[in-house]
C-alpha cells in the first residue's frame, strides 16, 4: 500500500497521467477505504477485549455521572453541592463478574480475512515489479470482493435467522404473558435472547425445570445470572441500584464524617440536651450558640445555617423533574423578593409546610384560596411592615419557602404559582417566633421524608427485580422460589450501596444514636447489675484471676454486626449474640457445678441491654432499623425476627435511659 503511494508520488509531475496510473490511484483509494473499515473493526475488537480483560473493576456504561446540565438544573446553581458529580459506586472487586464473549458476525469475519489477504499482498508486492504487482492487485481485489459478497450473503441469512428468532421469542412471550404487559414481555425476550448465545445458561434453565423447587438449583441459577455482567437482569439490577445510589449520595456525601463523630466515648459537646427539650433536635450545636451568645455568634450561626438550609432546599430541588430547567435563579429571586417581607414562622405555617410537602395538589388549591383571602384582608400591610433587622430571617424563610414552593411547582409549573404560594406563606406568618430549632426540625422532617421515599423505592425496585426474575424463570414464582429469589437478590443489590444507606439512616437516627452513645459512654465499664440484670445472671466469676467481662462472647459477636456486609449476615450476628448469652449462662453454671436457670425474655432483655452497651457501637440503632425495613418478611416471623425485636426493644430502653441519666444529673 505504502509502496503504491510512493510510486504515485515519485511519478507525480514527471509522468503523464496515464490510464494505468489512474487505475493505481483508484486501487489506492479502494485500499484506503478497506483499511479504514479494517481499522474500525480492529479498534472495536480491542475495546471489547479491553472490557473483557478488566473484569470486576470496569464500571459499566450505566455508571456514568448523572449530571448533564439540561437534565439536572441543580448543577447550574453556583456553590451548590451538586457541582461535584456523583462518583461511581465502588464496585466490590471480590465478586467476579464476566461478560459473555460475542462471536463475530460474518461480515466482521470477512473484514478480518481481507485484512489478512492485504497483509499477504503487501508482502508479496514488495518483492515484485510493477507489472506483476498490478496483476496481483487485481487478484487481490477480486478475492476481497468475493469474500465480501459471501459475507454479505451470510449476514443476510443470519439476520433472517435472527428475525425468525425474534419472532419466535415474541410469540413465546406473547403466548406466556398475553398482550397486556410490554415491560414483562420485553425483559423475557431479552433474557431468552441472551441465553441463545450462552449455552450454560440454557442448561441451567433445563436443570431448574427439572427441579423447580430445589433451593440450591434456584440459587445456582440466580448466581449465574447475576455473575453475567451484561445479562439483561443484571443490568436491570445495576440500573436500579444506581438510581438509589444517585438519590442517596447527594444526601449523605457531606454527612458521613458527621456521623462518625457519634462514637463511644461520646464527646461531651455532643451529649443530648436536657430531657425537657428532648423532642427538639439535640444534636445541633448551632442552637447552643444562638442560645448563649445571641449577638456575636449570629453571623457564624447564620452562615452555618444558611449552608445547611441550602442543602435542604437543594435536596428538595433535586426531587424535581427536569421540566423545571428554566432559570432557577429567576424563581428564587421571585421568591426572595416576595419573602423579604416575611418575618417569622408560626406553628400554623409549619403545619402548612408539612402538609404541602405531602399533599402537593391539595396545597396548590389551598394556596390560591389563602391568597385570595389574604388579598382581600391585608394586602397593604404586607409590603409596609418590613423590618430591616429581620434580614437574618430572610434566608430561613427563603429556603423554607423554596422548599415548599418547589413542590407545588412540580405540578403547577409556573412561576405565578410560586409567587402565590410565597404570599400564602407570609399570610400565615403573623404571630410567630423565630426559632432555629423549628427549622432544624423541619429539616429533619424533610430528611426523614427522603429516607422514607428512598426506602420505598428500594422496596419497589427489589419487588420489580423479583418479578423480572420470576417472569424469566417461572419456577421462581412458587413461595419457596420467591423467598430464595429475594435472598439471592439482596446481597448484590445492597452490598455496593450499603455504606451510603447506612449513612442515610445514621443521619436520620442521629438523635437516637446520640442518646445511645451517651448511655454507652456513661456505662462504658458498667456491669450487668447496672442494667438491671438479676443477681443470678450477673455471672460474676468467683475466680479473681479471670478478668473477662461477663458475656464477652456475646458482646464480640454483636460487635461484628458492623463488619457484616449482607442483611442476612447482620441478622445472623444478632441471633448468634442472643444464643451466646444463653450459652454464657450455661457455661458459667457448669463451671460452678450448678443447674443454670432458664432464660426467658424477662432475663434476656436486661442482659441484651448490657451487651449492647458494652459493644460501644451506637450505629446498631441504624443497622437495626435498616434490617427491620428491608429484611424479608419470612425472617421477621422466625427466630431472626425475635432477636431483632428484642435488640430493638433493648435499644429503646437504653434511649429512655439517656433521658433519665440527664434528669438525675440535673438534680
Amino acid at each position: 500500500m505504502s509502496t503504491l503511494i510512493k510510486d504515485v508520488k515519485s511519478k507525480d509531475g514527471k509522468v503523464l497521467i496515464t490510464k494505468e496510473v489512474m487505475k493505481y490511484v483508484q486501487l489506492g483509494s479502494q485500499c484506503m477505504e478497506r483499511i479504514l473499515i479494517v481499522v474500525n473493526t480492529i479498534s472495536k475488537t480491542t475495546v471489547m477485549s479491553d472490557q473483557k480483560s478488566a473484569p470486576g473493576t470496569a464500571t459499566t456504561p450505566i455508571y456514568r455521572p448523572p449530571t448533564s446540565p439540561a437534565s439536572d438544573p441543580d448543577t447550574n446553581k453556583p456553590g451548590c453541592r451538586f457541582s461535584a458529580p456523583v462518583p461511581p459506586i465502588q464496585d466490590s472487586p471480590d465478586r467476579t463478574m464476566f461478560q459473555r464473549t460475542k462471536s463475530l458476525g460474518p461480515l466482521d469475519l470477512a473484514y478480518k480475512r481481507n485484512q489478512l489477504l492485504m497483509a499477504a499482498y503487501k508482502a508479496r508486492q514488495a518483492k515484485l515489479n510493477a507489472r506483476n504487482a498490478f496483476d496481483l492487485s487485481l487478484t487481490l481485489q477480486r478475492k476481497m470482493a468475493e469474500n465480501l459478497a459471501i459475507a454479505k450473503l451470510q449476514e443476510e441469512a443470519l439476520s433472517k435467522k435472527m428475525k425468525e428468532r425474534q419472532q419466535r421469542l415474541d410469540d413465546l412471550a406473547n403466548q406466556k404473558f398475553g398482550s397486556s404487559n410490554k415491560e414483562t414481555k420485553e425483559i423475557y425476550k431479552q433474557v431468552l435472547n441472551y441465553e441463545q448465545d450462552a449455552e450454560w445458561l440454557q442448561n441451567m434453565r433445563k436443570e431448574l425445570e427439572e427441579n423447580p423447587s430445589d433451593p440450591s438449583v434456584i440459587s445456582k441459577v440466580m448466581q449465574a445470572v447475576l455473575c453475567c455482567k451484561d445479562h439483561p437482569l443484571t443490568e436491570k439490577l445495576k440500573a436500579y441500584q444506581y438510581k438509589i445510589y444517585e438519590r442517596i449520595y447527594p444526601l449523605v456525601s457531606d454527612k458521613m464524617e458527621e456521623s462518625k463523630k457519634v462514637t463511644v466515648p461520646l464527646d461531651k459537646s455532643f451529649w443530648p440536651s436536657k430531657p425537657k427539650v428532648k423532642d427538639k433536635l439535640a444534636e445541633e450545636k448551632w442552637d447552643e450558640n444562638s442560645d448563649d451568645h445571641p449577638e456575636e455568634d449570629k453571623g457564624i450561626m447564620e452562615a452555618g445555617e444558611v449552608t445547611l438550609r441550602e442543602d435542604k432546599s437543594e435536596i428538595s430541588l433535586s426531587e424535581l423533574s427536569s421540566e423545571k430547567s428554566k432559570s432557577l435563579e429567576e424563581i428564587s429571586a421571585d421568591v426572595k423578593e416576595d419573602l423579604e417581607k416575611a418575618m417569622d414562622m408560626g406553628d400554623k405555617l409549619q403545619h402548612k409546610l408539612e402538609e404541602s410537602n405531602e399533599k402537593t395538589l391539595k396545597m396548590a388549591q389551598r394556596v390560591s384560596l389563602d391568597v385570595e383571602s389574604y388579598h382581600a384582608e391585608n394586602m397593604d400591610d404586607l409590603f409596609d411592615d418590613e423590618d430591616e433587622e429581620k434580614e437574618d430571617d430572610e434566608d430561613d424563610e427563603k429556603s423554607i419557602g423554596n422548599q415548599d414552593v418547589t413542590v407545588p411547582k412540580e405540578r403547577a409549573g409556573s412561576s405565578e404559582e410560586l409567587k402565590l404560594s410565597g404570599r400564602a406563606l407570609r399570610s400565615d406568618s403573623s404571630q410567630s417566633l423565630e426559632d432555629p430549632e423549628q427549622i432544624n426540625k423541619l429539616k429533619m422532617e424533610a430528611y426523614k421524608r427522603h429516607l422514607k421515599g428512598i426506602s420505598e423505592d428500594v422496596h419497589c425496585y427489589l419487588d420489580k427485580l423479583q418479578e423480572m426474575f420470576i417472569c424469566a424463570y417461572e419456577q421462581l414464582g412458587s413461595p419457596e422460589g420467591r423467598d430464595c429469589c429475594y435472598s439471592q437478590l439482596e446481597e448484590p443489590f445492597f452490598k455496593p450501596i450499603w455504606q451510603y444507606l447506612l449513612a442515610l439512616y445514621r443521619f436520620g437516627n442521629k438523635s437516637l444514636e446520640i442518646q445511645l452513645a451517651h448511655v454507652m459512654t456513661v456505662h462504658m465499664n458498667g456491669s450487668p447489675a447496672d442494667l438491671g440484670v438479676k443477681a443470678k445472671l450477673r455471672l460474676q466469676s468467683h475466680d479473681q484471676n479471670v478478668n473477662d467481662i461477663p458475656y464477652k462472647p456475646a458482646i464480640e459477636e454483636l460487635r461484628s454486626i458492623s463488619s457484616q456486609v449482607t442483611l442476612l449476615g447482620k441478622l445472623e450476628s444478632l441471633v448468634k449474640s442472643s444464643r451466646l448469652i444463653c450459652r454464657c449462662v450455661e457455661e458459667h453454671y457448669n463451671t460452678i457445678g450448678e443447674n443454670a436457670p432458664a432464660i426467658g425474655a424477662d432475663d434476656l432483655l436486661p442482659i441484651l441491654s448490657y451487651v449492647i452497651v458494652r459493644t460501644g457501637l451506637p450505629q446498631i440503632v441504624s443497622e437495626c432499623s435498616i434490617l427491620e425495613e428491608f429484611i424479608h418478611e419470612g425472617y421477621i416471623m422466625g427466630e431472626e425476627g425475635y432477636c431483632l425485636t428484642s435488640v430493638q426493644t433493648a435499644l429503646k430502653y437504653l434511649e429512655t435511659l439517656s433521658n433519665n441519666l440527664l434528669a438525675s444529673d440535673e438534680e
Partner: protein, 220 residues
Amino acid sequence: MSSAKRPNGRASGPPVGGARNGPEGKSKQIKLVLLGESGVGKSSIALRFVRGEFNENGEATIGAAYLTKTINVQNSTAIKFDIWDTAGQERYHSLAPMYYRGAPAAVVVYDITSQTSFSRAQAWVKELTQQANSQIVIALVGNKADMASEGRVIPTEDGKEFASNNGLMFTEVSAKTGMNVDDVFTNLAAKIAAQSSPESNSTTVRPTNVERTEKGGCAC
C-alpha cells in the same frame, strides 16, 4: 408490575401475615406471643409445653425466650408454634407492639397468687384487643395453680368471668406440675385451624372453647 399476569396467578410480594401457609392444608406456622408480668412464669409455661419438663431451678436452654413446637390438630393439620416470650418489666413495654405485630395467637399469663399480675394481664388483654390484629386469638392463663391451696388470691371465677366477657379462652395451669399446659396450646391450635378452614365459622367454635375452660379451674 404487580398487575402482571403470571402463570401461577399468585399475588405479588413476599409472603405476608402471621400464618404462613405451606403447601395447601399440610402445615401452618403460627406466631404466638406470651405476655404477662415479669415473674408469672411465661417462659416456664412455654418450656413445659415445648420440652414437657420442669424443675424448680429450671434447665439450661439456649433461647428459652424463643421456642418452636409443632403439634397436630384433629383435621390432621400440623400447626407449628413460634413462641415469642416477652419481657414483663414495664420499662420494656414501649416496643411490645413489635412483638405482637402479626401474631394470630397470644397467651396472656397471670399468677393466681398475685393481684397485680392479674390487673396487668387485664391491661394486656385490653391493649391486644385494641391494637393487635383483629383476628387474634387470646388465651388467658392463670399460672401456679399448684399453689392454689396456700396462696390463691385470684378466684377461678374472676378469671373465667373476665375471659368470657372479652371472648378469651381461659385455663388455669401449673407450669410446675404440667397441669393443663398442653391444653392451652392444643385448644389455641384447634381454634386457629377451625378459624381458617372455610367450612366452619367462628361463632360455632366459641361455645366449645368456653366449655373447655371449665375443667381448668377445678384440677387442684
